[in-house]
C-alpha cells in the first residue's frame, strides 16, 4: 500500500489522487484534454457528492497554512471544477468551436 495522499476521511478518493491532485491550472487543463470522458465521468461521479464535505474540511485550515493532504484535497476540488465543463456541459473534453485556440494561465494564486 503506497502512502496516502488525501485525508483519511476521503480515502475512497485515493485512486483519483495521483492523476488529479495537480497544483497548476496548466496541468489540470492538460489532464482534462487528454482524459477520456469515461474517466472524467467516473471521477466526477465519485467526488461530486462529497464536494461540499471536502470544502468544509479544507475550510478548517488557514489557506497559507494547510497540511499537505488538505492541500491535495483542495487541488482535487480544482480538478472537479475543471472536469465539470466536459461532464456537465460539453460531453467532450474540449470546448466546442474552440479549435486551435488556447489561453495560457501564466500567473495564478497559490495554493
Amino acid at each position: 500500500m503506497s502512502e496516502r495522499l488525501l485525508p483519511d476521511e476521503f480515502s475512497e478518493l485515493e485512486p483519483f489522487a495521483p492523476r488529479w491532485c495537480l497544483p497548476t491550472e496548466r496541468e489540470r487543463f492538460a489532464q482534462r484534454m487528454t482524459s477520456s470522458m469515461e474517466d472524467m465521468q467516473t471521477f466526477y461521479d465519485a467526488f461530486f457528492p462529497r464536494a461540499e464535505e471536502a470544502i468544509q474540511y479544507c475550510d478548517k485550515f488557514e489557506l497559507d497554512d494547510m497540511p499537505e493532504d488538505a492541500q491535495r484535497l483542495l487541488q482535487l476540488l480544482y480538478s472537479l471544477v475543471m472536469v465539470s465543463f466536459p461532464v456537465e456541459v460539453w460531453r467532450q473534453p474540449h470546448v466546442p468551436d474552440s479549435g486551435a485556440a488556447y489561453l495560457d494561465l501564466l500567473i495564478e494564486p497559490i495554493p
Binding site: M82, S84, E88, W90, P96, L103, D104, P111
Partner: protein, 426 residues
C-alpha cells in the same frame, strides 16, 4: 419592442450622430498598410496601460514589456524614491537589450538594485543613471552622465501604470483618460490583488477581439450551450440588450445585467455552480470592499439590476467592473495586421478560506471556457474578411461600440496622415 429604454433619438447610435448608421468597412482589420499607419498614429501617440502598481511592490521591483507594435521593449521600475519610471530597454553602449532572462523576446520581472548589461557589464541605477562603465578609461571623452537610460513618459492612475512613447505627449494622462473613465477613481482596485493572468497569441487583428468583447449581441448564440438558462427558447428569442452605452472621446462604455445565479433555481444552473456558488459572473457572495460607496463613475447611468461596466479605454485596454466585487482587464497588443497578443487578468479580493478560493477558481475556469470560443471565432472572421468577398457590414444598435472603435481608429489615422502631409508641404 425594446425592453430597455433607449435615448430620445430612438437608438444609442443615433444619440451619437457622428457615427452614422451605414454599413462599416473592415478594411482596417486586413490591410498591412493601415496597420503600419495605426502603429504611428495610435500606438506611438496614446497612453498605453502596461500593468498595475502591485506588480512593483518594492523599491527596485521591475518588469519588462514587449511593445512590438511600437518596435520597442520597455522596462518599468520602482525607484529608490518610490517613483515608478519607464525606460526603453536598451543599453546605451552598443544597443543590447538590457533586461531579459534566457530569451530576449520574453517578458521578465524581478527586483534589483541596479541593471547590469549582460554584454559588457555597463550598470544603470533604477532611476536610469549610468553608474558604471567597464574599462571606462578605454573610451574617448566619455561622460557617464550623458549615457543614462532613455526615458519613456510614465504616469500612474488608480494604480494602473501607463506609458506614452511620444517625444512630448499631447495630453496629460488624466486628460487623455477623460471624465468617463476618471470618474471611477476611488474604486478599490488596490484591495483586489488575487490575480489570474492569461495570455494567448490570436491570429486576428487587434480590433476584432476588442469587438468580440465589447458587444454581447453574440452571447446568446455563440455561448448558447454554456448554461441551461442561455439555452431557453425565450432567452434565445429575446437576444441581448444592454442597459446603457456611453462614448467619451475615443473611449467607450457598456453597462449590462448579468445572470444572477444566486437568484436562480438549481435546475437553471450547472451543478458545479451551485456547489461553488460561482460562475462566469464571478463568486455569488461579494467580498467586503470597504465602507465607502462606489464612485459615481461605476454604473454611471445608475441602472437597476446593474451587473457590470465594461470600460473600453482607448486604444487597447479594458477595465471590466463586476457588481459582485471583482474586476478584470483585457489588453490587445498588435504584432501584425492579422495577429495580436491577448492578455486577460482577473482580480479578486484575496480569499479568506478554501471556499472563497474555490469560488474564484470556478470563475476563472469558466472565463477560459468562454474566451476559447470567442478567440477561435476571430480567426474564422479574419480569414474571411481577408477574402474581400464582402467589404461592407451592417452593424446594429447593440454593436455601437464596434462602430465607434473603427471610426476612432480611422480618425486617428486620418489626423496623423493630415499632419504628415502638412509637414511635408512646408
Amino acid at each position: 419592442m425594446a425592453r430597455i429604454e433607449k435615448p430620445p433619438e430612438g437608438s444609442w447610435t443615433a444619440h451619437y450622430p457622428e457615427l452614422g448608421t451605414g454599413p462599416v468597412s473592415y478594411e482596417d482589420s486586413i490591410s498591412p498598410e493601415i496597420y503600419e499607419l495605426e502603429r504611428e498614429a495610435i500606438f506611438k501617440r496614446s497612453w498605453l496601460n502596461v500593468g498595475r502598481a502591485e506588480q512593483l511592490p518594492r523599491k527596485g521591483s521591475y518588469f519588462t514589456k514587449e511593445l512590438a507594435v511600437a518596435n520597442t521593449s520597455i522596462v518599468v521600475v520602482r525607484g529608490m524614491d518610490g517613483e515608478v519610471r519607464a525606460f526603453h530597454n536598451i543599453c546605451r553602449h552598443r544597443g543590447n537589450k538590457l533586461v531579459w532572462t534566457d530569451f530576449p523576446g520574453e517578458e521578465t520581472s524581478g527586483s534589483c538594485r541596479q541593471f547590469v548589461c549582460k554584454y559588457h557589464g555597463w550598470k544603470y541605477e533604477v532611476d536610469g543613471a549610468c553608474s558604471f562603465v567597464q574599462q571606462e578609461g578605454e573610451f574617448f571623452d566619455l561622460d557617464k552622465s550623458d549615457y543614462g537610460l532613455v526615458p519613456v513618459h510614465c504616469d500612474v492612475w488608480s494604480g494602473f501604470i501607463f506609458v506614452n512613447l511620444e517625444h512630448e505627449p499631447r495630453q496629460w494622462l488624466r486628460d487623455f483618460l477623460g471624465p468617463m473613465t476618471t470618474a471611477i477613481e476611488g474604486y478599490p482596485f488596490d484591495l483586489q490583488t488575487e490575480r489570474f493572468s492569461y495570455r494567448a497569441v490570436v491570429h486576428a487583428n487587434w480590433k476584432l477581439f476588442i469587438d468580440a468583447f465589447q458587444e454581447f449581441y453574440h452571447a446568446p448564440v455563440l455561448h448558447a450551450r454554456q448554461s441551461p438558462v442561455a439555452a431557453l427558447p425565450e432567452v434565445q428569442a429575446a437576444g441581448f440588450e444592454a442597459l446603457h452605452y456611453q462614448l467619451d472621446g475615443p473611449h467607450r462604455l457598456v453597462t449590462t445585467t448579468v445572470g444572477e445565479g444566486w437568484r436562480m433555481p438549481p435546475e437553471m444552473l450547472k451543478p458545479m455552480e451551485t456547489v461553488t456558488r460561482s460562475g462566469l459572473f464571478g463568486p455569488w457572495d461579494a467580498p467586503d470592499l470597504g465602507p465607502d460607496p462606489l464612485p459615481a463613475g461605476v454604473n454611471p447611468a445608475d441602472r437597476k439590476h446593474w451587473g457590470l461596466d465594461s470600460f473600453q479605454v482607448w486604444p487597447n485596454f479594458v477595465i471590466l467592473i463586476w457588481e459582485r466585487g471583482w474586476y478584470l482587464t483585457y489588453h490587445y497588443w498588435p504584432t501584425s495586421h492579422n495577429a495580436h497578443v491577448f492578455e486577460g487578468n482577473l482580480y479578486f479580493v484575496p480569499p479568506k478560506n478554501a471556499r472563497e478560493r474555490l469560488a474564484q477558481e470556478m470563475a476563472a475556469v469558466t472565463f477560459k471556457e468562454y474566451a476559447l470560443q470567442d478567440g477561435n471565432t476571430l480567426e474564422a472572421t479574419q480569414t474571411m474578411l481577408e477574402s474581400r468577398v464582402v467589404t461592407a457590414f451592417p452593424l446594429n444598435d447593440q454593436e455601437i461600440l464596434c462602430r465607434h472603435l473603427h471610426k476612432v481608429a480611422a480618425d486617428w489615422v486620418d489626423g496623423y496622415t493630415r499632419e504628415r502631409a502638412e509637414v511635408g508641404a512646408r
